[in-house]
Symmetry: C2
């Protein structure tokens, strides 16, 4: 077997990086996955997954919200936000009720149990900050860079109307 | 219903950000998801998902590799990398064979069909770079920051032995 297997050993650049190691997308994917793992020990006692935690944060910022608005805020499509909200409802943290003024809309609101988690949910971030060993300025800079990153051309123009040069 | 619903409207900071908008983890999660979406139109014609694309890149850097080594390179646990490799095998892009020198190890190698995708797979990154409108320096800086981010304390000390101060 070994005899007719052509072994591949990639050329590395000056810093000893192979092709995969040079890719921003891989670094981003890895950092996001590590960040989610870093949250796990803080979120498991609250009974929340990482995306559910983001939804609870959004609702602690503003509630009630329509499912559509919540999905838009979290940049999740209907196929992601709807089951997520249903699981939060099953866990007793939110309610889903039809908007009386517009029957087509479903409003998501926090239950008393959900609201009671507020200090613990809000406290998670400080623990993550400490674990990441980043300064507030470092966090602000990186957050800004990330927010501007990987927007398709259409989004990008909407988000950056004048100050940013477009590709030729 | 509306009458006994306490509406929540979060206090925003000077830049108009609510609590969720201030969180690095949310920015990171959003950027990673947008980056994956940005890859979709380039990967779908190749029949690859984003994690499968990363695995193919790793194999184009070095093949054959054990499933364990490939998982370690991609920072995926056995429950993620094993089904991923099986799907690549079903698609005809890789083979899985027992290592003759050590029957406990499974070696993953690219098939001729998998190797033939090399120029297209390697070409995806240039298209993403253009879409992200980042300079090479900007990409290098951000990649470096992301690689150092969100490592749990143990990893961190291993990765940053001397130059970095520890938290008190």
């Amino acid at each position: 077997m070994q005899s007719h297997t052509k072994e591949i050993q990639s050329k590395k650049d000056q810093s000893g990086r192979d092709e995969l190691g040079r890719q921003l997308s891989f670094a981003l994917y890895g950092a996001a996955n590590r960040m989610i793992r870093l949250h796990k020990p803080f979120l498991e006692p609250l009974g929340l997954t990482f995306p559910q935690y983001l939804a609870m944060l959004a609702l602690l910022d503003k509630a009630p919200q329509t499912v559509g608005a919540l999905g838009a805020r979290l940049d999740m499509d209907a196929g992601t936000i709807t089951p997520l909200v249903k699981r939060l409802e099953a866990a007793g943290m939110v309610t889903r009720v039809r908007d009386r003024t517009d029957e087509r809309r479903v409003l998501v609101d926090l239950t008393a149990q959900g609201r009671a988690l507020k200090p613990k949910i809000r406290g998670v971030n400080a623990q993550i900050k400490a674990a990441c060993q980043l300064t507030s300025e470092g966090i602000d800079d990186l957050r800004q860079t990330l927010e501007n990153l990987a927007h398709p051309a259409g989004d990008w123009q909407a988000a950056q109307p004048a100050s940013r040069k477009e590709l030729p």
